[in-house]
Amino acid sequence: MPERWSDYLTILMSALALGYLVYEIDRRRRKLHDVFDVLDADDARITARLEDMVASGALQPYAGARAN
C-alpha cells in the first residue's frame, strides 16, 4: 500500500493518463469507421436500392461527363 499522499496522486494521475489514452484511441477508431467501413447486412437496404436503380436503367455507367 502507498504510504504517502504523493504516491496516491501518482497512481491517480497514471490512471487518468491511461484512461485518456484508451478514450482517445477508441474515439479515433470510431471516427475511422464512420469515414470508411465495410458494407454488411446493415447496409443491405441501401445496396438493394442502388442495384435496383442500375437494373431499372435509372442509373447508367459514367461515360465522360458528371451528371451534376
Binding site: R28, R29, V35, F36, D37, A41, T47, E51
Partner: protein
C-alpha cells in the same frame, strides 16, 4: 498489398462504384468534382454510377442516417454479392462528407482510390479491409501515444 497467393485473375468488372452527392458539403463536393477524373482513370475497369443531384437528394431523403455524410462513395463487391448477396460483407464505403477541410477530403479520396486499385484482385477483400482498419487503428494509437509523449517532452 495483397500477397501474391491472394489474387485472382481479372475477368470483367469486380466493383460497381456509386457516387451520391447532393452538393450539401461544399468542401468535399468541390474536391470530388476536381478529382473525379483521377478516380475514373484509376478505375477504368469498373463502372462508376453518378447519381444526379436530384437522385442524390431523393436517396438521402430515404436514408436519413446518411445526412451530413455525403458525398458518399459506395463500392459494391460483385464477387461477394454473387456468393452471399447483401446478407453479409458485400463492399465498402467512404463518407467523404465527414471531411471538413479540402486537404482532409483530398487525402481521404486519394487513399480510397489507391485502396480500390490495390485490392481489385483480392480473393478475401473483407479480411484485407479489416486488416487495413486494424493497421490504421494501431497507427492512430501510436500517434496518440507519440503526441502525448511529445506534449510531455515539450512541457
Amino acid at each position: 498489398m495483397p500477397s501474391p497467393g491472394s489474387e485472382k485473375s481479372s475477368n470483367g468488372p469486380r466493383f460497381r462504384i456509386f457516387i451520391i452527392d447532393s452538393g450539401g458539403n461544399s468542401v468535399a463536393h468541390k474536391v470530388l468534382e476536381e478529382n473525379f477524373e483521377l478516380v475514373r482513370d484509376l478505375q477504368k475497369d469498373d463502372p462508376i454510377y453518378v447519381l444526379s443531384r436530384e437522385q442524390s437528394i431523393e436517396f438521402i431523403r430515404q436514408h436519413q442516417d446518411r445526412i451530413g455524410r455525403e458525398p458518399l462513395i459506395a463500392v459494391h463487391d460483385l464477387a461477394a454479392m454473387s456468393e452471399s448477396g447483401t446478407t453479409d460483407f458485400h463492399g465498402f464505403r467512404l463518407h467523404l462528407g465527414l471531411m471538413h477541410t479540402p486537404q482532409q477530403a483530398l487525402l481521404a479520396l486519394q487513399n480510397f482510390a489507391r485502396f480500390l486499385n490495390t485490392h481489385r484482385q483480392s480473393v478475401d477483400l473483407e479480411a484485407e479491409i479489416r486488416a487495413d482498419l486494424r493497421r490504421e487503428g494501431l497507427a492512430g494509437a501510436i500517434e496518440v501515444v507519440l503526441h502525448h509523449e511529445a506534449r510531455e517532452i515539450g512541457g
